[in-house]
């Protein structure tokens, strides 16, 4: 589904209820917000954690169906690690999927700062052969600091979508396919994203029918 088709469906739904017009600028803004919300949902919303059970209803990579939904934004990358063991985050970095050594495909485990001392001093799994990494504010910190490179699979922020347009003689926006940017997600997922967009539109227009419709799709599926 192109972004033009997506936009057209949204406009049909909004116009069906005569709930108003969604300008291209607003559409682009809300479409990107909606797909960010979709990624956050598939990554596991910690607000759903229960007492003594830190797991949401839908958690990251819970099964192959959920993981498959996120694969369009799971990228591989080779990190360059400096002599202090530091590597800056990728520009579109959201969260790590897996981390590997560059040679031998040995896993590199994520460690939280409070437990760093016990990992560094471990004799059963010395860090020389069982490397680890921390998450810092600007990047990853690896131990030992001589890894030089590491392979990372990570969830990235989805590329920004845009319904690009040119103005016709009457000043009306006309779809520009060349400069538009489509969603990277599968067509079946675009309806979930659409539901989120409509919910935001419903809030924006204070249109209960739009919000209700969107919530039905979100909770019950299409």
């Amino acid at each position: 589904m192109t972004i033009d088709e997506f936009y057209s469906i949204v406009k049909v739904i909004l116009n069906k209820n005569q709930q108003g017009y969604l300008s291209p600028e607003k559409f682009n803004l809300l479409a990107n917000a909606a797909q960010d919300e979709w990624v956050a949902y598939l990554s596991g919303e910690f607000q759903q954690y229960q007492n003594g059970r830190s797991q949401p209803r839908i958690s990251y990579s819970q099964n192959s169906t959920i993981r498959n939904r996120l694969t369009p934004v799971i990228y591989g990358y080779t990190l360059n690690i400096d002599s202090t063991g530091f590597a800056t985050y990728m520009g579109d970095y959201l969260q790590v999927d897996t981390m590997w050594t560059i040679y031998g495909s040995n896993r590199i485990r994520q460690v939280d700062q409070p437990r760093l001392f016990s990992f560094i001093n471990s004799r059963i799994d010395p860090i020389a052969t069982n490397p680890i990494y921390l998450l810092e504010d600007r990047g990853f910190r690896f131990y030992p600091n001589d890894l030089v490179q590491a392979k990372v699979e990570y969830v990235r922020n989805p590329p920004r979508v845009e319904w690009a347009y040119n103005l016709d003689a009457d000043g009306r926006p006309v779809y520009d396919a060349v400069n538009s940017i489509d969603f990277v997600f599968y067509d079946t997922d675009l309806f979930d994203i659409m539901a989120r967009l409509l919910r935001q539109m419903g809030v924006s227009l204070q249109a209960n029918e739009v919000s209700q419709y969107a919530n039905e799709i979100k909770t019950q599926g299409q």
Binding site: T98, R109, Q110, Q113, I124
Partner: protein, 208 residues
Amino acid sequence: MDRYTYIERTLRQIYGGQPSQDSEITINLVNTWLNDAVAIAAKQNYKENLQIEGIGYLNNSFYTTFKGIAITQDENFVYKATLPEIPLGIGRNEAISNLRFKNSLNNISYDGIPQSIAQTGYARGQRAIPNKIEYSPQGEFVLIYTPIIMTQYTMQVTMVSGGDSTDLDSTINIPSDYFPVIVEYIKAQLAFEKAQPQDVNNDGRDNK
């Protein structure tokens, strides 16, 4: 079965499938429990043999021969070598079947004569036994009492051992009928670890 295969099987049992990237029970950790488990299996074999046949002994399958162990001088007429692992507390011979010495021409001596701790004091005042070398295992060391200059020899020892714990491709040195013993022991230890609540709050206090 080699160590790595056994450990992988154990991990898959603990994790209900292939362990994930986040798993904290590692191969090295299970490997550290394996030697303890082999010792328990050996002890059970000893007890069962005693019950069934009235003779306390360990089956051959539990034994491993280690070769090329260096000997250093400790005191005058006392030499020291480091055993691959601390001998088990089984039987009068500490689960050491034999201990021999080899020279540079690959000639192997007759077995050394073991001394218990109670005997070392008494034997100190005795004349050395001709053509025999006496030794006493103490912890991970073996003390060798002889006027012969032993540093020119290497030692080889046959003792109860689970095999080479530093080589994950080495075979676990116990017979198959005792595998359930080590399985149950290791499973209990790892399940205990997994059941413990983790301190996820970095609040300056330990979990209670």
